[in-house]
Symmetry: C2
Subunit: 332 residues, 2 copies
C-alpha cells in the first residue's frame, strides 16, 4: 500500500493537519516540526494523492495548454516551456489539442475544466481569439492567459512577440537590399499573426515610400504546400517580385522548393524571408532571412503570468531576432 498522510503523521508524531501544512508550505509551523515531517515524508517516500487534494481543496494544481495549430515545432517548443515552469511551480500541465471549428469546441473545454478543476488555462493562437470561449472563461472566473495576445489586451495577461514590428523590420531589410517588388505570402486567416505580419509588411513598404500593390500579395495557410502554390502564383506574374517574404518558414520552405524547381539562383535572383515559427528554417538555411521567435520562452512566460501574476492586464512582450542573409535584387 502507498503511504498516506496518516502514516506520515504517525511517523512524525504529529497530526495530519500539520503534515498538510508542511506539504502546502503554509506558515505557522515550527521549524523543528517542519523538519520532523519532512524527514517522515522522505523516509516513507510519500507523495500526496492529487485526486484527494483536488477533491478536498477544490483545485487541481493543473493548468491546461490549449492549441489548434498546424505547426508541430511551434506547439512542441511551447509545450516544453510550459512544462518546465509548471514543474518548477509544483503544477502539472495538460496539453489539449483543440479544434476551434468543431461544434463542441467550447463544450469540450468546459468538460475539461469541470472534470479536472483546472487552476488555469493557457490559450495559444488561434484558440485565444475565439470570443465564445473567452466569454465563457470570464463568466466562470477561471484564470487564463494568452500566447500571441489578441484584440483586447486588457482582457487577460498575455505573452507574445511584436509581429508587426518584426515584419516591418524584415521588410525594411529587404528594401535595404535594393528590392522594390517584394511579394508577400499571408498566413492562415484563423491566426491573428497572419494579420499582424501583413500589417508590418505594409508599414515597412510605406516607410520606404513604396506603394502597396496587392498583386504582390498571395494567400497561404502556414503550410509547406500552400507556400509552394503561393510562390508559383507570385513567380508567374508578368513582373515577378525579386524578393518573397513568407509569413512563416513552412511556407518559406515551399517558396524555396519552387525556386529550386524553376532553377532560380538563390539568393542572387531571389531573396526569401520568413518567420521561423517552426524551426523549418534550419532545413532551408542559409538561403533564408528569418525572424527568430523565442518559442520555449513564450511558453515559460505565459506560465509565469498565469501562476504568479494576479493582474489582468499584465503583458510580456518577448524579443524577436532578425537573422539576415544578404542578396542582390534582380532589378533596381
Amino acid at each position: 500500500m502507498r503511504p498516506t498522510i496518516h502514516d506520515v503523521a504517525h511517523v512524525a508524531g504529529v497530526s495530519i493537519k500539520t503534515v498538510s501544512r508542511v506539504l502546502n508550505k503554509e506558515k505557522h509551523v515550527r521549524e523543528q516540526t517542519r523538519l520532523k515531517v519532512e524527514r517522515a515524508v522522505e523516509q516513507l517516500d510519500f507523495r500526496p494523492s492529487q485526486a484527494a487534494r483536488a477533491l478536498a481543496g477544490n483545485r487541481s494544481f493543473q493548468v491546461a495548454l490549449l492549441y489548434d495549430n498546424p505547426s508541430p515545432y511551434y506547439i512542441y517548443h511551447i509545450q516544453i516551456g510550459v512544462s518546465q515552469r509548471c514543474h518548477e511551480h509544483g503544477f502539472r500541465a495538460i496539453f489539449q489539442p483543440s479544434d476551434i471549428h468543431a461544434s463542441d469546441f467550447v463544450e469540450r473545454i468546459k468538460a475539461l475544466i469541470d472534470e479536472t478543476r483546472l487552476d488555469g488555462l493557457i490559450l495559444s493562437s488561434p484558440v485565444g481569439d475565439q470570443n465564445n470561449l473567452l466569454t465563457t472563461l470570464k463568466q466562470w472566473g477561471i484564470p487564463f492567459v494568452r500566447i500571441d495576445a489578441g484584440e483586447d489586451l486588457s482582457l487577460c495577461p498575455a505573452a507574445f512577440i511584436d509581429d508587426v514590428a518584426a515584419a516591418k523590420a524584415m521588410t525594411l531589410h529587404l528594401v535595404a537590399l535594393g528590392h522594390r517588388e517584394i511579394g508577400f505570402i499571408v498566413g492562415h486567416p484563423d491566426h491573428r499573426s497572419a494579420y499582424n505580419r501583413l500589417q508590418g509588411y505594409k508599414q515597412g513598404l510605406q516607410q520606404s515610400g513604396i506603394a502597396f500593390d496587392d498583386r504582390l500579395l498571395s494567400h497561404g495557410l502556414y503550410t509547406f504546400e500552400s507556400g509552394r502554390q503561393a510562390a508559383d502564383d507570385l513567380l508567374n506574374l508578368p513582373n515577378p517580385p525579386t524578393a518573397i517574404f513568407a509569413s512563416n518558414d513552412d511556407m518559406a520552405a515551399g517558396v524555396l522548393s519552387v525556386a529550386h524547381a524553376r532553377g532560380i539562383k538563390l539568393p542572387d535572383q531571389l531573396s526569401i524571408a520568413g518567420f521561423d515559427d517552426t524551426d523549418m528554417a534550419r532545413a532551408v538555411w542559409p538561403a533564408l532571412s528569418t525572424i527568430r521567435q523565442p518559442l520555449q520562452e513564450l511558453g515559460r512566460a505565459a506560465t509565469d503570468l498565469l501562476l504568479q501574476a494576479p493582474s489582468a492586464t499584465l503583458q510580456r512582450v518577448l524579443k524577436y531576432e532578425l537573422i539576415l542573409r544578404s542578396s542582390t535584387a534582380r532589378r533596381k
Copy 2:
C-alpha cells in the same frame, strides 16, 4: 455551484448509485432508468469530478505518454493519435516530456504515477528502452505499452513499424538504381531505431552482394546539424558515395543543404534517402526518397493496445511506405 451526482439522482428520482452505474456504463440498469438518468445529466449539464472518481475508484482514467525525443513532428503526431483514442475511450492523456539522462528520471515518473493514479503508460522510444524504468513498472504492476518495441517483445504490448525491413527495402531500391557506394548516416545512439535501421542497411547490402564498408558509415544525432556534418564527412572521402541514406529526414535535409552548398546536382549526381520521422521530408521534396511512417497511427495503435488489450505480448506492426524518387548513379 456545479451539480453533483446527488443532484442528478434527485432530478432523475433514483439513488446516486444508479447514477453512478449509468455513468460507468455498467450493466443491470433498466433501459428506462438509464434514460431518466441521462436526461437528468443532460439537463443539469453534469460532469463527474475526475478527482472524486479517482479517489474513490483508485484510478484516474488517465494515461501518460512519455517521450524524450528531439523530433517535434514525431512526438506531435503521436500525441494527436493518442489524444484521439483517449477521448474515444473516455480517457485523458497526459503528455510528459522526460529526460532519460536526468538523475531523477525514474523518480519523476514514479511521482507521476503515484500522484495521479495513472491507469497506464505509453512509452515512446527511447524511454521504452530504459531498463530501470521497465523494471519499476513491472514491479508496480502498472500497465504499459511501447511505441517502437525494444529488445524483449514479450515484455509488454508494442506498436511499431519494422525499421529493419524498411531500411533494407530502401537500400535495395538504391542498389536497383545502380548505386554501389551507398553512404549511411546512423541516428542517435539512444534510439533503438538507429540500430535497427543500420541493420536493415547492412542486410540490403548483403542481399545485393555488396560488401559492407564502414568508411561509408557516418554518425549523426537525428538532427539537421548533425546531418550536415555527417554529409560533409562522407562527401570528403577520397571515393565519395553516389547515394546517401540518412536514418531520418532531419539529417537527410542536412545532407541536401550540404549538397546544394557544394553545387552538387540532385538527383543526378547524388541520391538522397531517409526516413520521414518528422515530415521534414516535405521541405526537401522532391529530391528525397523516403520511408513514410504512419505516426498518428502509431499513437492510436499504442493507445488501443493499452486500453483494450490485456495480453502482455500483443503487437501491432504498422505498414510503412516507400516513396521513391529515381536518379542515376554517378559511377557504375
